[in-house]
């Protein structure tokens, strides 16, 4: 990419990151605009290959899947990874695996950016306090929806804009010098990363006694070869049976 196309890509990616992590649009921004799948489609449109964008975006999204932000603490940032790596991957012809390998460390950097934003926004708490004391609702409105996005514009837009503008050449130069084992290692890390998200969710929703369900799900897909939707239906049926069995037991106890 070069010229107007590159500038357009850099501006759009920067804006998407600003919307995604400035959370402009709340959970729509958080779940949708921030998703590497959506970033992949948009970057693909600008580049002229939506399918490639989807495939790379889907791969990066999978590597970060399951990592949610309990308490608003984002441990690793798929949106920064997507908005910077996908355009460069499209332009330089990286494979999905190579793109994931670069996305993994990029995601860690993003966690710092989003924490910085929460620190900066503290300024507006005290302003809002004084507006509240005057009963000035317009002032509170500005503190809620105007100042935070404005102050975050340089913080969120600029890094992505610059990386996309100047990252291509750097990436090509880097690819020529980076040893094969480093790329392979990062790809291995990208292949394993989804397990962190899954483990987090298991820790949140289940007790250790529920691990057999996880093993059943794993065997259905890996050893028996079912696809995820069929496996999901089977596990769903198990879930219904478990709930009904517990109800029956409670009824039995109540009747006795």
């Amino acid at each position: 990419m070069s010229g107007a196309q590159l500038v357009l890509m850099a501006v759009v990616m920067g804006l998407m990151y600003w919307i995604a992590r400035g959370m402009i649009g709340g959970y729509f921004a958080f779940f949708y605009i921030a998703s590497p799948i959506v970033v992949g489609v948009v970057a693909g449109l600008i580049f002229g290959d939506v399918t490639k964008g989807l495939i790379i975006g889907g791969g990066i999204a999978a590597a970060f899947a399951g990592i949610i932000a309990p308490g608003g603490n984002l441990p690793t940032d798929s949106a920064l990874a997507a908005t910077t790596v996908i355009p460069i991957a499209l332009a330089t012809g990286l494979s999905v695996e190579q793109a994931i390998a670069f996305a993994v460390p990029m995601g860690l950097l993003g966690a710092f950016v989003t924490n910085l934003r929460k620190a900066v926004n503290v300024i507006f708490v005290h302003r809002a306090d004084s507006y509240a004391a005057e009963g000035n609702t317009a002032g509170i409105t500005r503190c809620a929806i105007l100042w935070p996005p404005l102050i975050e514009l340089p913080l969120l837009f600029l890094p992505v804009f610059l990386v996309v503008m100047f990252g291509q050449d750097a990436m090509l130069a880097f690819m020529n010098v980076v040893p094969a084992w480093v790329m392979n290692g990062l790809q291995v890390a990208g292949g394993v990363m989804p397990a962190i998200g899954f483990a987090l969710i298991m820790n949140m929703i289940g007790k250790p006694q529920m691990i057999p369900y996880t093993i059943i799900g794993f065997i259905l897909v890996k050893a028996i070869g079912l696809n995820n939707i069929t496996a999901g239906l089977m596990v769903g049926c198990v879930a219904v049976l478990v709930v009904m069995a517990r109800r029956e037991m409670e009824k039995g106890k109540a009747g006795a």
């Binding site: 779940f31 507006f124 990062l186 987090l200």
Partner: protein, 287 residues
Amino acid sequence: MITMSENSTPVAEPNDEQGHALLTKHDVNRVIARWYITCEMSLNYERMQSISYTYSLIPVLKKLYPKKEDLIPALQRHLELFNTNATAGGLILGTTLAMEEQKSQNPDSIPGESVVAVKTGLMGPVAAFGDSFSAGTITTLFILASCALAQTGSIAGFWLLLIGTMYTLGELIVFTHLTYTKGRSAIKDILNSSLMKDIIEGANVLGMGMMGALAASMVTLSIAITATFNEATLTVQDKIDGIMPGLLSIAVLFLYYWLISKKHVSVVKLVLFTIVVALACSAIGLF
């Protein structure tokens, strides 16, 4: 703008002891829209989502408290620390609306501190429910299914993710209206109802099973070591697959699960640990 003083006749007569019907469906929807779009925009370390929460309530508070001396304490109490899962937070939003409405009718019936106490008391349990059920299970399953589609190059992944995102909005709308209509005590009944228990238990079983199914298709790890004896090449990975296909992937999953649940290792450390170990193993040719 509709203005009402406490002595004038309300536009609609309160239809129960909680003084409902002061707020219209439109008022409630306006608060929902404001909250959904801005909930995390002013997120900060000191009070988290409180500015956004206050901003969302402004139209309703102005309607309920037309006098400035009543409006000011209302604005101030909602600027107290608040942080929860924003869409399951509809349960708190509706409860807040019901309480503020009742308070505006009879200022002595609810002290301002109890509005704050109810909000802060609920935000933890609601966040735990929302993070595990809505974000952790339902939305994650949508995201993962979308990934699987997108990775094959299908645009359907893009649309499926939109449907999953719309689920969060639907949840907020339903929860807010439900708790507003049923009043301040409703939230405990809802969180403790047997139907809710069944749904959560079922979703947890499904979620646990799906984590295994998804790990099977999305976690990839194989050992690259081969040994050559005479003419025969022995691949370690083949031997492992002979014991159980994908044994390494599920072992990694349970290793992470153990580190998180028993050792309380943070995610950032896990990601760093993964990168370092992967690079080291790659350097010595293990993977």
